[in-house]
Subunit: 457 residues, 2 copies
């Protein structure tokens, strides 16, 4: 079954594939907009019919309290790995419409790119795998691995019904790995695989002094000021090397391996451009690490918000009774958000100065995730990229969290391979979203090759 | 002229004095309420007619862009000091009306107190001096000192037209001292003279990191966080002894004299009650000073407000582009607000960490003021209190600023004697404002005695 017939099929049918994608892009499946509920449903119906026509089995549209999830599978490769493909068919709102040079839901090809809402995020990338599956089923009548696919309609509103769905259908969705194309390549023609995401512990600290706001003239100097107290606490959470000063914070941090640091060093990164784009004179962070390492492979602590006292125009001489801050920590393997939250709380309590009381509580958190570079899936993905793009992919970590990746790990015990075909310049969530049609084609080839390599075909 | 006839006159006429005060209290002269403009004017007219009937000369109602200022004088004591009496006839709004047990503008006597808006602040206290002047003019046909009196109608809205009036009428208002009754006694039957007020330097610090809000996952760790930076700056503004760590900050601070510390030690102060009322476990402040000293005789630094990033419910993973704080310093003699502001700016700039830019600017400030305890006016005031109340007054400082006191010093080069007859329990600016009729009577006696003693009569 070391067939190249799927690849020949892809090249022969690429124009039809594009037209089908354009048809999907014409459906304004904006999940945040209740008036678009029918359009979101129409996109699900379109995919259900696609799944059936390409030969997927057990095709079904699962209803949820919100928008539906479209499922299909083809499980005829006994002894071979099972891959769960995930993507989403809902899109961000297109507003502000006046900033689009072409109508947001009328796909327009300019040069190599198709412009439309959802072109890159995520219809174009999700459809890649549908067409890769088709290329196997329509040429060989089979796929070298077992494939399950779910496309949901609520990613842009935080996937509220996905976790209950995963929990309810744990058996149906059992797999060896998850394959997701909803991220970007490092740069044009620079294929890359995101292998790590940071976790999150998100805390709120509230400091109370007197039982009410006081006049700063009458009481200032004799009564603790909760803003000053809070600032003092925050200032003590990091040291001068930019390291987090919470006892035990680094205990479970997996240091970067030499191979990982080498992968970072290979990334083509222009620090001057980075600074220019952010309007910064300097970048800054933990001593001993590069900007990319700081932004994705090392844990952080950042205040996300702070408030207290008078925030209006001019001067008001208030000594406030309360102040508060939101403080979050990005985590890396093998830090546990709950352990970190506990250590944070203990440490912050120990820092409380005289005359104030503290309340600290934890908002939602998330586990960090790293997919081992030497897993079968990761190796197959790298080889598939190399075949199609003619170069080895870069391995990157992202600084943020993709909550579904942690959910797949927790509920299905499966690592996720993030095989991104977008570009950072695709303007997702913004006007004039686009997607490269060359990468659409190369993506289908890469996915088809991935199935072949992983299946040992 | 060592006459006690004024005092006899006061006792003989006290019931009429009260009725006149009640008539003034019935006029709802709420300066903040444009619908009450006619009532404010009516109060000014009432006082003009009073001034004329008691024998004051050059009585005149000065128009301003807002509410008028009523003036009168009696300048027939050549070689004797000139006293400028200041007070205000406008009042705070009475709302919320439903919390008053008696109508706010229908003075009601309960026990020793009269309840009405303005009873203590400041109609009752200002009228004391009008009746003291009357008691001299109607018995002796003269006053042992030169007296000028101005009663304004805009104190409750920040006296916007008083400073231009003082500047325009610098000559007419020239005096050796200013006499104001618009403060409180330390406690019931504990006469006291406020001899010091703190000054103010009020700053705003704005910290900018990147040119926009960023995703804390993608950029956190590599880009400076303006909230963390601001907290770090604020934390470095005071040391562990509660002293302000700005270089040169204490250079011009006049230390408390032994006499002043002794005066503080004599004040009947219940620290447990203070803590209980404020809901505090501990009081805290500069090492080596008592709570009352910290709150009024020592300089302070307090954050009055802080803001940045996300302040709403739940968690938002933003790495904000900006954060800002309002930070004010209460000053004591001989600190100059502009010098302090300059030192603050220099120091804060030196604390700015890498990766952020700072903007610091100055809001309005105010000079601290202390009236020497051994001035003629202060000694006469103390003796007058002792005569009438049968005990020496306490000398207190207040932690806040009374801007007009600094204005009198700056424009007229005159110290102010704050001869308060109110009580902290008078509920000024609140429902059920009241004033002790005993203190109204004793106040008139004290003022009349003050004129006699100061004039050496």
């Amino acid at each position: 079954m070391s067939s190249n017939r799927p690849n020949l099929y892809i090249d022969a049918n690429i124009d039809r594939f594009k037209e089908e994608l354009f048809a999907l892009l014409r459906i304004p499946s904006v999940s945040t907009d209740s008036r678009r509920k029918g359009d979101v449903r129409a996109a699900a119906d379109f995919l259900e019919s696609q799944f059936k026509s390409i030969g997927l089995e057990n095709v079904r549209v699962f209803e949820t309290p919100g928008h539906p999830i479209v499922y299909g599978d083809f499980l005829h490769a006994p002894g071979k790995p099972t891959v769960l493909v995930y993507g989403h068919y809902d899109v961000q709102p297109a507003e502000p419409l006046e900033l689009w040079t072409h109508p947001a839901f009328e796909p327009t090809v300019v040069g190599d790119d198709v412009y439309a809402r959802g072109a890159s995020d995520d219809k174009g990338q999700a459809y890649i795998h549908v067409k890769a599956i088709e290329s196997w089923l329509q040429t060989e009548g089979s796929i070298p691995v077992n494939v399950k696919i779910i496309l949901e309609g609520e990613e842009e509103i935080g996937s509220p019904n996905l976790i209950p769905f995963l929990e309810e259908h744990r058996g149906r969705l059992a797999c060896d790995m998850v394959l997701v194309s909803d991220t970007s390549m490092f740069d044009k023609d620079v294929p890359s695989i995101t292998y790590g995401l940071r976790g999150l512990a998100y805390m709120q600290v509230e400091v109370t002094g007197a039982n009410r706001d006081l006049h700063s003239g009458v009481y200032g100097g004799a009564v603790a000021n909760p803003i000053n107290a809070l600032a003092g606490i925050i200032a003590q959470l990091k040291d001068e090397q930019g390291r987090i000063a919470i006892p035990g914070f680094y205990d479970d941090v997996a240091d970067l391996t030499p191979a990982e640091r080498e992968a970072y060093a290979k990334l083509p990164f222009d620090e001057d451009r980075y600074k220019r784009e952010l309007g910064l004179h300097d970048v800054t962070g933990e001593t001993g690490y590069s900007t990319l390492e700081r932004a994705s492979a090392r844990p952080t602590l950042d205040c996300n918000g702070i408030w207290g006292g008078y925030q209006g125009e001019g001067a008001k001489t208030v000594l406030p009774g309360k102040a508060a801050a939101k403080i979050s920590m990005r985590l890396v393997p093998n830090q546990d958000p709950h352990v970190i939250a506990r250590r944070f709380i203990d440490h912050v309590r120990s820092l409380a100065p005289e005359g104030v009381t503290l309340e600290v509580h934890e908002h939602h958190g998330g586990m960090p995730a790293v997919t081992p570079l030497d897993s079968d899936g990761m190796k197959a993905a790298a080889q598939a990229f190399a075949e199609v793009y003619g170069k080895e992919p870069l391995f990157t970590r992202e600084g943020g969290s993709i909550p579904i990746v942690a959910a797949f790990k927790r509920i299905l015990a499966a690592d996720t391979i993030l095989m991104g075909f977008g570009l950072n310049s695709d303007a997702i969530h913004a006007p004039n979203e686009k997607f490269s049609l060359t990468d659409f084609r190369r993506g289908i080839h890469t996915s088809a090759s991935f199935f072949r390599i992983l299946g040992g075909a």
